[in-house]
Each structure stands twice: as C-alpha cells, then as structure tokens.
C-alpha cells in the first residue's frame, strides 16, 4: 500500500533533482556562465585604433593631453579645467546631480574609465569621437567658457614647443583677434564671421588638435579589476572562488537576477556593462530644466558637426565612418533615449541618471520596479516587481562592481 506513494515521491524528487542539477556544479546554468563570462573585464577587447585621430596612440600626445586636461588656464575665468568636473580621485566625475563650473549645466558629469571604447559621447551621443567631444565643454559658457581663437593663441604663446613636436608648425597667429568663435557670445560670433576663411580654418585645425591631444590622454583611462571580475574568472574556469572573490548568497542572487529575471543584462551588457546604445527608461525630467529629448535632439547636431568623422578635421576617410553612416537617424525610439551608462563603479558614485534625478541605488531599483511611463516617447522598461530580498540582492551585486 505504501509503495506507490513512495514511488511517486521518488519520481518527483528525481525530477526536482534533475531540474536543479541543470544549475550545478557552481550553482549557475551553462547559459548563466556564458553571460557571466562576457561581463569579465578580461573580455574587454583591446582598444581599437581611432583612424580619425592620427595621434590617438602617441605617448607624446597623451602626455600633452594630460597637461591640457588639468590646466585651468583653458577657461575664461582661469579656474576651470576638465578635472574640475572629471576628478581623478573620484572616477573622473564629481558626484553632483548637475555639473558645476562657471555655471550649472543641465546634465550630470559622466565618469571616463574606458570611455574610448564606445562609439558615441555625451548622454545623448551628440559627438562621435573623443576629440570632437572635448571641444564642446571648452566653448560651453557654463563650463570652460573659452573660445577657439583664444585657445589657438594660447597654444602659440604657452605651448608652442609641445604642440609643434606633435602637430607640426603653428600658423602665424600674430594678427588673430583675441576672442572669436562661431558658438560664442554675439560679439565673438561677429568677429568670427569677419575673419577670412583661411584664418578660420587655421584656428579650427589647431582647436581640433587640442581635442586630439586630450583624447589621446583619455584613451589611457581604464577600469580596474573588481571583486566581480575575480569571482567571474573562477566561475568560468570552474574553480571555487577564493578569498574576496567569494560571493555571499545575496550577491549570487543579485547576479542571477541581473542576468536573468530582472533583464538588466539587456542593456547593461558586455565587460563595460553597456550596450553603447540609447534607451528611454522613463527617467523623469527635472523641473526647471529645458526640455531634454536625449538622442532625438542629438542626431541633427551630430550630422552637422564640422568636427565629426566625415568632416575635414578628421584624419579618416568616409569608409572609417561606419558608425555615423549607419546610425539610426529617426524613429520614436530616439525620444528621451539616453546612453546606457556603465555600472562599473556605479555603487560608489551616486547620484544617478543623466541629470542626477535619482539619489540612491535603492531608488534606482525602485525605479526599475515601478517602471513609470516616460514624459515623452515610450519607456522600454517593463516593470519587474522585486521582493525586498531581491532589491537588496541587486544592490549587493552592484557593489561587487566597485573598483578595488
């Protein structure tokens, strides 16, 4: 009489064991192991050459770029450098919701580790190279507040020797106006229009070279290994993680959620935890700031940028400009879409999102759980309801991505 039940139980137990067995030995399925493997820092491809910048990998250019990055004389008030906001001891960011220099900007400062691996720069990707990107803050009134003519003169007056060793002889800038730029104040724009074509071109050439030196330096800023990387190396090798590479049950649960049910891996994928693409995730606008349509408003500016890959200051031919040639130019998906940020080091650098809308990781996870509708466009986030334990697990996992 007892036997049939026991047999049934044994069958059920066997089925359960088989189902769970699919996840053994290290508690991860083969598919999970494959994805974990892809997230390791060691999977990061060697940095590709940048054909638009022929000095991109020259040590001399990188050293000059480092000097410029930290030089506060590259500003209208003599106080601001790139490092004012991109702080070397703070993951090259500033921990503020909105960046501050001469004024307060509309967006949050982005960290710079391994930034050179991506095709697009800024939260909306409105520049397509690091050197073209660097030119923007230099002339932005709320950031460095300078202008390209003043920067060109500064190269001749203060940096002639270092500049010329990399880029060749500077043109004669003796008759050049003090302050002129197509993007500056009304007066600066008027002076720029009055300058001759050749003179403007010479200034733009030197200006773009300043960007190219800074870009060469930025290409050397890299992520450091994290606890997660040590853990993942062990998992992939089929070893038991040892020492600080060992994950707690909560951290493992968080990792499983991240690559599984919570779908974070859809966008935060690869060794930099970003797909280098733009998504509307329903992050609300900040009251008082101008309307920010993200990628939707960036495409026209990118195409019209004289310093883009197809422009005459690029050292590459059009065949190297695949990203620009084949980028998505329109469509509803660009509305309020922002670049997926890397999550390496994110736990240690609140606040979050493109204008610092979210103060803590707890609230970030709440955001993904609530999945609010977007202010405009369509959010791609389908809410995943997390238990309190699930939320804690995701956060515990994100902390394993902090450097050290």
């Amino acid at each position: 009489m007892e036997k049939p039940f026991r047999r049934i139980f044994r069958l059920v137990a066997l089925a359960a064991a088989l189902a769970l067995g699919a996840c053994k030995p290290s508690g991860f399925s083969e598919e999970e192991k494959r994805i974990i493997g892809q997230l390791r820092l060691s999977e990061l491809a060697k940095l590709q050459p940048d054909p638009t910048n022929r000095h991109a990998d020259e040590p001399l250019a990188a050293a000059f770029g480092a000097t410029l990055f930290f030089d506060t004389r590259l500003s209208s008030d003599g106080v601001v450098s790139c490092a004012t906001c991109h702080q070397i001891d703070n993951q090259f960011q500033d921990g503020l919701p909105l960046a501050r220099a001469i004024g307060i900007t509309d967006r949050r400062t982005m960290p710079l580790a391994d930034v050179a691996h991506g095709p697009w720069f800024f939260w909306d990707g409105r520049r397509d190279s690091l050197w073209a990107q660097a030119l923007v803050p230099l002339e932005e009134a709320r950031e460095h507040g300078g202008n390209r003519t003043a920067y060109a003169r500064m190269m001749a007056e203060r940096y002639r020797e270092r500049y010329e060793r990399i880029f060749g002889p500077l043109p004669d800038f003796s008759g050049l106006p003090e302050n002129a730029s197509p993007l500056g104040t009304e007066a600066e724009r008027a002076v720029w229009t009055a300058m001759g074509e050749a003179e403007r071109d010479a200034v733009d050439r030197v200006f773009s070279n300043i960007g190219k030196a800074i870009a060469a330096f930025e290409r050397t800023i890299a992520h450091g290994e994290t606890r997660f990387d040590r853990f993942a190396e062990a998992v992939v090798a089929g070893r038991e993680p040892e020492g600080d590479a060992r994950f707690s049950a909560l951290e493992i649960e968080g990792l499983k959620l991240f690559i599984g049910k919570a779908n974070c891996i859809d966008c935060h994928n690869g060794p930099r935890f970003t797909d280098d693409h733009f998504h509307n995730t329903g992050v609300p606008p900040v009251e008082g700031l101008p309307d920010d349509r993200g990628r939707a408003q960036a495409v026209a500016e990118l195409v019209g940028d004289p310093f883009n890959c197809l422009g005459k200051y690029s050292d590459a031919g059009p065949e190297a400009c695949e990203e620009l040639r084949f980028m998505r130019r329109d469509g509803a998906e660009l509305e309020r879409a922002f670049k997926t940020p890397s999550l390496r080091g994110a736990a240690a650098r609140p606040p979050y999102m493109h204008s610092g809308q979210i103060a803590t990781l707890e609230e970030v996870v709440d955001h993904y759980s609530r999945a609010p509708e977007a202010a405009s466009g369509q959010s791609e986030i389908g809410g995943v309801i997390f238990t309190d334990r699930g939320k804690a697990a995701l956060i515990a996992f994100l902390k394993t991505l902090d450097p050290g």
């Binding site: 069958l11 399925s29 966008c267």
Partner: protein
C-alpha cells in the same frame, strides 16, 4: 487510506507541476523559443526569390558593427544581379527595431549583396527583414537570429 493516498497524490502532482513550471521558466529565460526557424536560406514570402543570408564573419557577436551577405536567386537558382535591397528588423519580444540603419552597399557578384551597418546590441531573439526589389517584382524574406 484512500483519502490519504489521494492527498499524497495531489501534493505530489502539485510538486511536479511546480518543478515543471520552474523548468519551463528557466527554459524560456535562456532561449526565446525552441521551434524558431533559424534557417539561413528560404523562399521569399511570395515565392519570387530564393534568399540566403550569412554574417560576413563568424561567429556572430553581440556588440560590434558588422556586415551580412545576402544572396538572391530565382526559384530555379539563377543569380539575381539587379536587386535593390532594404533592411529592417528588430526584437519581437522587446518591441523595438534595429539599433542602426543597415544598408545594402551594392552587388558584389553572383547575386550577392553586402549589407553593412548591422549591430545586435542585446542578447536574445532578433529578426532581420530584407525587402527585395528586382525585375521579377517586390518580395520580402524574414530571418530569425538568436544571440
């Protein structure tokens, strides 16, 4: 006795159901759909062409911008050399399109066309749709890709 055995049976069936549901869930999490047609060669929707596709370089990888080669032939195997091909696609389960705008950059011989600018920025099930316009008429072919 009978009541007890029934209870045990119900409990056992319940456990079995949970185990099966769990296995199914795991299955669906890792693979979009097992019976997805992953063939890389097929007749176009209205049967005007035989269309074959392949990434220019294997293995297919998530992330990098890359090219595909599309080969267009008539149903009896003659190369179609004057086709205009446009590309569309996306992720059906995410209701979003392709992250880029891939384009045919021309005929490279024997009915083969290079499609440049393809990127798959997420893992999972993708669809690539090719619209083909040639003297025989306009037709479409859809291919599934799983990463």
């Amino acid at each position: 006795m009978a009541g007890k055995s029934r209870t045990i049976l119900i409990v056992a069936a319940g456990i079995a159901a949970i185990v099966i549901a769990g296995m199914l869930a795991m299955h669906f999490l890792s693979a979009p759909s097992d019976d997805l047609d992953l063939s890389r060669s097929k007749a176009s929707a209205a049967g005007l062409y035989r269309v074959s596709v392949a990434p220019e370089a294997e293995p297919l990888r998530q992330g990098p911008l890359h090219s595909w080669i599309v080969t267009v032939a008539t149903p009896d195997g003659a190369a179609v050399e004057d086709a205009r091909i446009t590309v569309d696609g996306g992720m059906p389960q995410h209701s979003h399109g392709l992250p880029t705008e891939p384009q045919s950059t021309g005929h490279i011989g024997d009915g083969r066309y290079r499609i440049e600018g393809v990127r798959f920025n997420m893992g999972g099930w993708w669809v690539l749709k090719f619209a083909i316009e040639a003297p025989a008429g306009r037709d479409e072919a859809e291919f599934n890709v799983v990463l």
